[in-house]
């Protein structure tokens, strides 16, 4: 347990310092969200309707930003080999890294979304649903993103392939996440949050295995 | 004949669908066969040299 927490803490510290990507993700999130009204016009009714979807998509993209370095940074300087040799199972290593990513990126994005929802004139209840859906759904983003990061860790420009691999797999998160906001705004409860929770749960449980397998095959050079 | 071509007025959709399908599958067949023959020739040349 201590090894797990130590790794998590280390990754978290690396992520939040300058150049670690956490602050970058927040800035990117805000920038993209600002761009959308510029693109679709300032009709607040329209913006309120699309708020859930726009904020969800922007959050996913922002979370993916620094993901390619999740394993690659340690791989390049050799620390991944050492980490793999430690008594901590590689699956737990992967889980620790995904958790650190969520804490450094997903969680702050969720918090910021409450503020950015104001740009879209989203109602208080809608914003509540948005924040809750992001809270529940961003772990899935870190989990599936972690698989992509592990698969692409040996590719130098893997940052370009990672979104291509990961985004289709995250379609359910975007659908259920924004669907939750719709359900609240439209007044029709639609169970989206339950599906989202199930999806996140399955992703966080299974992803470490896939990511560990990917790390192993890359280390077995 | 013109009835066949017009396809009840939907000809503008039916025929392109068949054309694209034929083109895509035809290209797939052609490229697959070409790659196979190329590989066969290359291997034969290498084996001929030895």
């Amino acid at each position: 347990m201590t090894a797990f927490l130590a790794l998590l803490g280390r990754d978290l510290r690396l992520a939040v310092r300058a150049g670690g990507g956490a602050a970058l993700a927040l800035a990117f999130f805000a920038a993209v969200v600002t761009l959308v009204p510029l693109g679709v016009g300032a009709d607040l009714l329209l913006l309120a309707r699309i708020a859930g979807g726009v904020l969800w998509v922007a959050a996913v993209l922002a979370a993916l930003l620094a993901l390619d370095r999740l394993f690659q940074a340690d791989f390049e300087d050799g620390s991944l080999d050492l980490i793999a040799l430690s008594p901590l199972p590689l699956e737990m290593t992967a889980l620790a890294k995904m958790a650190a990513h969520w804490l450094a990126t997903g969680l702050p994005l969720t918090a910021l979304s409450a503020l950015l929802a104001v740009f879209f004139d989203l109602s208080a209840r809608g914003t509540g649903a948005l924040v809750l859906s992001l809270l529940i759904g961003t772990p899935a983003v870190s989990a599936i993103g972690g698989i992509g990061a592990a698969l692409t860790l040996s590719i130098r420009r893997g940052g370009l392939i990672l979104p291509l691999i990961v985004l289709p797999l995250l379609a359910p998160a975007v659908i259920f996440g924004s669907g939750a906001v719709e359900g609240v705004e439209g007044g029709l409860p639609n169970g989206a949050l339950y599906f989202l929770a199930a999806f996140s749960l399955v992703c966080t449980m299974l992803s470490p295995f896939a990511a560990a397998a990917a790390v192993r095959l890359n280390l077995a050079a | 004949m013109s009835e066949f071509l017009s396809q009840g007025g939907y000809g503008a959709y039916v025929w392109p669908a068949y054309a694209i399908s034929l083109a895509a599958l035809g290209a797939a067949v052609a490229l697959t066969l070409a790659a196979y023959r190329r590989a066969k020739r290359r291997l034969a040349r290498l084996e001929g040299k030895l």
């Binding site: 291509l164 999806f199 | 797939a28 291997l43």
Partner: protein, 237 residues
């Protein structure tokens, strides 16, 4: 079946099987086309029903190809069969072509009925995501330089995709009922009349056999290319 993992036996086996496969494919396609055009226009869809004879077989083949790709990936990871990797790698571009074809024909099929070139119909949307799964798979395979590493990475991606695909389809389905009510373009449409079933079946059979023929040829090509490469490495002049 595992004896086929031996490349030489595979070449013999596939070489013997291919003429029959290709011939059967050609026959099925021909018969399907003839019956397809001789069928009367559908009560609701008119003559656009003939596009269904192209769309549904392409869609079916694309999904079958992904299943085969995932299966080959599992065999490659678990049993380390050398041919399993080749089988998976060669299936992907073919599957992508059938998926793209399914999307284009689906769009052409829907346009007269829906009035738009693309509506976010549940099945077509899932299909679009499937195309991205294929493209991601192919991109990953090309980006990793080491061949066996690439094969194993792609295998993991294929399995993750295969596990996720039902979830994706479920969520897309849910999403369409949320926004549009019932899915407009259901499996094969609302008709089940026998006069349409036969051409549909024959075209689907033809597409499937065509896929297998092309797949076998591509695996053979890959085997020959690897042989050539190993000859070059082992000391050609």
């Amino acid at each position: 079946m595992f004896e086929l993992a031996n490349p030489k036996r595979f070449m013999q086996f596939s070489g013997a099987l291919l003429p029959w496969l290709a011939g059967a494919a050609a026959l099925a396609l021909l018969a399907g086309l003839v019956l397809g055009f001789r069928a009367p226009p559908d009560y609701q869809q008119g003559d656009t029903v003939r596009i269904m004879f192209l769309h549904v077989p392409a869609a079916w083949t694309a999904m079958m190809a992904y299943g085969l790709l995932a299966l080959a990936s599992i065999v490659g990871l678990v049993n380390r069969h050398p041919l399993a990797d080749v089988a998976a790698k060669t299936a992907a571009p073919l599957g992508a072509v059938f998926t793209a074809l399914g999307l284009v024909t689906g769009s052409l099929w829907g346009r007269p009925m829906w009035g738009a070139w693309w509506v976010w119909d549940g099945r077509l949307t899932s299909f679009l995501l499937l195309l991205f799964l294929y493209l991601g798979y192919i991109a990953l395979g090309q980006a990793i330089e080491d061949e066996s590493r690439a094969a194993r990475a792609c295998a993991i991606l294929a399995i993750v995709g295969a596990v996720n695909l039902p979830i994706i389809e479920f969520s897309v389905d849910w999403w369409t009922t949320l926004h549009q009510g019932e899915s407009i373009l259901r499996k094969g449409g609302p008709l089940i009349a026998a006069v349409f079933l036969w051409p549909l079946f024959l075209m689907a059979l033809g597409y499937t056999l065509l896929f297998f023929s092309l797949w076998l040829i591509r695996i053979r090509t890959e085997i020959l290319e690897r042989r050539a490469r190993s000859l070059m490495l082992s000391g050609a002049p």
